[in-house]
Amino acid sequence: MTPNQTDRIATQVINFLVLIVVLILFFLLGDIILSGFPHISWHFLTSPSSSFSAGGGIRDQLFNSLYLLVLTLIISFPLALGSAIYLSEYAGNNWRTGLIRTAIEVLSSLPSVVVGLFGYLLFVIEFHMGFSILSGAIALTFFNLPLLVRSIEGSLHAVPDSQREAGISLGLSNWRTIRGIILPAALPGILTGIILSAGRVFGEAAALIYTAGQSAPILNYSNWNPTDSSSFLNPMRPAETLAVHIWKVNTEGVTPDAVSISAGASAVLIIVILLFNFGARAIGNHMYKKMTGGK
């Protein structure tokens, strides 16, 4: 076989594999969105859920998912950023760094339920944080960190060394160089990491059942005081997220319309993630353009 024939066959094999993946993707997304779309209505999005009668909505769960994402990122992003900077800029290439990396990666293979129980026993019980969004956010930080650290470190590495040299040669401190030159250049990669980890936050259920809880108390959306227990901004209140809600109605739900709630909620989840992806990308591009001074 000549190299050219091999090339043609190989390309066809690759195209074929891609086609299969695309078909799977279409099937999955199509199945979720088509079966869920008919159940999405304004009423569904804006009314609270119901524990036994039909006609419940997902208003609070939807908000909780978003709020949990924000809190999780507030906790995990700075930690991941700092650690990624340490690993890519300060750490030497030795066994100690290898150990740290392995330790962080092992975190990502822990089953959700183990992290959930750990969070439950330590944060919920021991630290008296109760079933709360905050406990949930800390538990999710465990899953988020490996993914975030890895992707941020990767995108920092991808910035050419000549950029670091340029900064340092001007008498800038390493820190200033990292912050002002390397980070902006690495921004698109960092965003991908955030989007991926956000997906994980949206989709996680097992870890949250034991930490953020699986009840959605009625929220008061006009109460902006985060310390008040009925306020929607209070991080210390229990919060059932969309994914947990889907899990609950599917496993123990006794509402007559459990199937349609689950389908509708799944479709909403997908759409929210989609919007989030596009939004994050648009903001990223905008920031990147602003920083590079391009018009």
Binding site: F52, S53, I75, F127
Partner: protein, 298 residues
């Protein structure tokens, strides 16, 4: 300029994150005790059985609407979790599907039982198997693996696929207590939730499992045992023997706020309508009682 803002935001975030992570234990502690002083809001947490959760959750919502000074949190986690945590004093109420006495590792004498509802359970099969009634002995043989084909009990020629519940789960303990007479169930598929079992039985040919009454729908077939139908009425007289209580345990006698809520759980408001709406049987309707050793008295 915007770079500076970006950085300072990041720094602020990281500080906030570390502070929240590190100190929230103290702050939350403080704020909850301050709340108590200011508004005298008592916080009650009930954890445990997922089967009982919807009932308690709904009751808690109604109760809080009338009693502003009580803040109730109801969570699942499983009966084991509920019993462990109430025994440790980490939560005020532990919800359980089983008697504390039936659970090893729990000092039942330290806990006070509050029975709030009764759940009836029925064996369910895939509608295709062509069986509507079995004897108790046949049912036992199916679950211990002695009968392996539906034609042995008058159905069509189809292998029996047993789907059991998780070991240690309340539903399984109840079912095995009432049916197996101490024999060991065959090792088979195990699922831990009513919803999954219902879906599996409806889609797997030859499947048999058991469900709480409220999860039985037209996609699965509930079996009669010795020609007794699984109905609420038969449960109240113990003609249908597979049923259990739903318990809410407290460590010692409940203190004021928890006592108030537990009293509400036993009131006609809950027992008269809510319990039935959610598919349980009211404790008030029972004509018999059962103790931890499965002994029934009229």
């Amino acid at each position: 300029m915007h770079k500076k803002t970006l950085l300072s935001t990041l720094v602020a975030f990281s500080l906030a994150g570390l502070l929240l992570g590190g100190c929230s234990s103290k702050s939350s502690h403080k704020s909850s005790s301050e709340d108590t002083k200011a508004a005298k809001v008592t916080k009650i947490t009930a954890v445990g059985s997922t089967a009982l959760q919807p009932l308690v959750e709904q009751a808690a919502q109604d109760y809080q609407a009338a009693n502003k000074n009580v803040n109730l949190t109801v969570q699942g986690g499983g009966s084991g979790t509920g019993l462990s945590q109430v025994q440790q004093g980490a939560v005020q109420i532990g919800n359980s599907d089983i008697f504390a006495e039936q659970s090893s590792g729990i000092k039942a004498d330290k806990l006070v039982d509050h029975k709030v509802a009764v759940v009836g359970m029925t064996p369910v099969v895939n509608p295709e198997v062509g069986v509507a009634n079995v004897s108790m002995a046949q049912l036992r043989d199916i679950f211990t693996g002695k009968i392996t084909n539906w034609k042995q009990v008058g159905g069509k020629d189809q292998k029996i696929s047993v789907i059991n519940r998780a070991q240690g789960s309340g539903t399984r303990a109840t079912f095995e207590g009432a049916v197996l007479e101490g024999k060991k169930a065959v090792t088979s598929q195990e699922q831990d939730s009513n919803g999954t079992v219902q879906k599996l039985v409806s889609s797997t040919p030859g499947a048999i499992s058991y469900l709480a009454f409220s999860y039985v729908n037209d996609k699965v077939k509930a079996l009669s045992i010795d020609n007794v139908k699984p109905t609420d009425k038969n449960v109240t007289t113990n003609k249908w023997t597979i049923w259990s209580y739903e318990h809410m345990y407290t460590k010692g006698q409940p203190v004021k706020a928890a006592a108030g809520f537990l009293k509400y759980m036993n009131s006609d408001k809950v027992q008269g309508s809510l319990v039935n709406k959610l598919g349980y049987i009211s404790i008030h309707d029972m004509k018999v009682t059962k103790n931890a050793k499965n002994v029934v008295t009229k």
